[in-house]
Each structure stands twice: as structure tokens, then as C-alpha cells.
């Protein structure tokens, strides 16, 4: 199978540090292409290898220079991928994150989403944090509109929300336990949704990771460590364009008057700063140049 010739055994341990990206395409979004683009940037900014967890259908006979691990996509439910229309509904294959521990060939791994644009060497600091497993507790809205405030907690009882967007783990007994618990949460998602009173129809890695962290830290929420800075994030109505290597322009409208439907246009840019870009379509346009 030509597209799979560079798939390596997932148990190899020839790299001690690396990045892992899950990328399973649906008919609306080419996650594999996004993952390859991000992996190129990982190499450029972090000097680290990337392993992409994907399947043959997503690869579609494309040749890439990154390490690939073939796995089985798991749908976390169906969702609409474009806020501007109701027609882009498809499966969201986001539910296999719990397999990361076994699939990663690295001793120390950072799992990142395929929409996390590496644009600096900031992620290298995560390897120095000294924890077996750690992720972000907070995100900040790069538009300044502060629209991620309600992501600080989830469920009726305001359970602390951790972001699975960037998830570091070191091969260790503690991290193995964490992923065992994460697997349990994944398999019993509806049960945990009933306990915490959140919608179980669409699987959310953030929720599963938050619950698993709470369990492995003995339900002592104050004891859970996190990455000591916030993820720069932009919502799905923000458009980006890659101006130069490490300069990203952001443009977006702010609704200043609902009744009269008045929008205020904004433009700003990021340099030497990573970006979690939720708008997959603007990411696609940027990748295509």
C-alpha cells in the first residue's frame, strides 16, 4: 500500500521526545493534511519528530515525511463543522485519544490537536515542567473578546475544565494509570455525563481528560498541575492568514449592536506565538496558500 509505506511500528523507542497528532478525516475536513502541515511546523520550530495517528482512508495514498501510525477512527458523535451553515454535518472522529499512551513511540510525548498551529518554540518548555502528565487549564481569546470564559468549568456542578488540546505525558506508571482511567471514562462516558450533568451525545476529550485527571489525583482538584500559561485560542468565526513564517494575521467581526446587526471589523496579528485555531476552514485556506 504506497501511502502506508512509512508507517512504523508504534512500539519503537528511537526518539525520546516527540509530538503526536490524531488525524482522521471525514467528508468535510481533511484533518490529515492539517496534521502534516502542523508537523512540518513542529520540525521547524521545535526540532522534534511528529507521529500522526491516522488511517488509510485519511492518508489516501499521499506521501509524507512524518512517522505514521495506523489506527482505527472512533466517532465521538456527529456535529456541524461550520458555524455559517447547517450543511456541514459529519462524524467527528475525536474519540481515540485514550490510545495515545500505547501508540506513542516516544518516551515523552506532547499530543496536540491538528488545529494547534505551532508558531514558536514555547512547547519545548512543557518538557521541563517535571510532571508525568499535564495539560492546559486555561485558554485566552486572542481577539480580546474573552469568549472562552465559560470554558473554565463544565457540567451543572461547575467541574474544572482542562484542555486536551495540548497533553503532555511521560512513559511512567502514573501516566499509564491516567490513560487506563481515561479509557474507562471513554467507555463509560454516559455514566460520567450523568454524574456531572453534561450532554453526552458528543464526546469531548476535554471533559474526559478533566474527569480522568480528577480521578488519578484522588479527587483533590487543587492537586492537579497544569501548564503554567494559557492556550492562545481563536473562535470559529475568526479568519487567519499566514503572512510570514511566524506572523499570523487574524481578522474578525465583533457584534456591537444585535438589534441593528452592526458588526465592527477587527484585525490583529500574532508573531512567535502558537495558536489553537478552531476555524478549520480558514486553517484549510491558509494551508492551501
Amino acid at each position: 500500500m504506497p501511502g502506508l509505506q512509512n508507517i512504523k511500528n508504534s512500539t519503537m523507542k528511537d526518539n525520546s521526545q516527540g509530538i503526536l497528532i490524531f488525524a482522521f478525516n471525514n467528508d468535510k475536513i481533511d484533518y490529515f493534511k492539517h496534521a502534516c502541515w502542523v508537523a512540518d511546523r513542529v520540525e521547524q520550530y521545535l526540532g522534534l519528530p511528529t507521529t500522526i495517528v491516522t488511517n488509510e482512508k485519511s492518508i489516501n495514498d499521499r506521501q509524507v515525511k512524518h512517522n505514521l501510525v495506523k489506527s482505527v477512527p472512533e466517532s465521538g458523535g456527529r456535529r456541524n463543522f461550520d458555524h455559517k451553515t447547517d450543511t456541514k454535518v459529519d462524524d467527528w472522529f475525536n474519540a481515540a485519544r485514550y490510545t495515545a499512551y500505547n501508540l506513542s513511540p516516544y518516551n515523552e510525548t506532547i499530543v496536540i490537536d491538528s488545529d494547534y498551529i505551532v508558531n514558536s518554540d514555547q512547547l519545548l518548555k512543557v518538557f521541563d515542567l517535571g510532571h508525568d502528565i499535564v495539560c492546559h487549564r486555561n485558554a485566552y481569546d486572542v481577539t480580546g473578546l474573552d469568549r472562552f470564559r465559560h470554558y473554565n468549568y463544565f457540567g451543572t456542578y461547575n467541574f474544572p475544565h482542562y484542555w486536551a488540546t495540548v497533553l503532555y505525558f511521560k512513559k511512567s506508571k502514573f501516566a499509564e494509570n491516567f490513560f487506563d482511567v481515561l479509557t474507562m471514562v471513554r467507555k463509560n462516558y454516559q455514566h460520567y455525563a450523568n454524574i456531572h450533568k453534561f450532554n453526552h451525545f458528543m464526546f469531548r476529550n476535554d471533559y474526559a481528560v478533566s474527569i480522568a485527571l480528577s480521578i488519578v489525583y484522588g479527587h483533590d482538584l487543587d492537586a492537579i498541575p497544569s501548564i503554567p500559561w494559557s492556550i492562545p485560542t481563536c473562535y470559529d468565526d475568526v479568519n487567519i492568514s499566514n503572512l510570514t513564517d511566524n506572523k499570523i494575521e487574524l481578522s474578525y467581526d465583533e457584534r456591537v449592536d444585535n438589534e441593528r446587526n452592526i458588526l465592527k471589523y477587527h484585525r490583529t496579528y500574532l508573531t512567535d506565538t502558537d495558536l489553537h485555531c478552531i476555524n478549520k476552514f480558514t486553517l484549510e485556506e491558509t494551508i492551501n496558500g
Binding site: L129, P228, H266, T268
Partner: protein, 104 residues
Amino acid sequence: MDNAQVNELVDTIKKRFNHNSAKKILKEKYESKMLFAESGGMWKASPELIVLLSSMDDDNIVLIDTYENPCYVNRQELLTKAKQCFQEQTNAWFAEYQELNNER
């Protein structure tokens, strides 16, 4: 004002740089870059850390890092690294802030 002038005006407005959000982005960016690892701990190169380290005399001291773990550190080594990181990042912050002001 004719249509061409209106369109030109709209284009100009759209290109206007959003200074406030860019300033906030800079703050988040450089605060995250102030973090560094040393002596088994994670530290923020803050004025408080630098003043504390400068005010003490002992070669080795115990300090609490950003994860609230006590760490046994070489005071001079940590001070040197904290000052270097603080100066590098604040200088870069200032330079980028000046660029922002020029785009207003």
C-alpha cells in the same frame, strides 16, 4: 461622497489595526516566555523573584517554585538566569510594543 470614496473609506477602516487586543496578546505571550526551568523547579522571571534572590546572602537557599514545590537552589545561578530571561523578554516585549504603536 461617491461610492468609490465610500469603498476606500471602508477599506481604510478595515485595515485599522486593533491596538488593544494586540497589546493583550503581547502580555500573554511575554508572560509565558518568562517561565524557565532551573534546579528542578519551574520559575517565572519576575521582578519579585529577582529582588528576593538579590536580597539574600546565602549561596544555597530553598525557594518555592511556580508549582508550589520547595526547591533547593543555587542562589546566584538562579538569579543570573532570572535576570537574563527577564531582560531578554522585556526588551523583546518593548521592541514589539514599539512596532505596534507605529502601526496605529
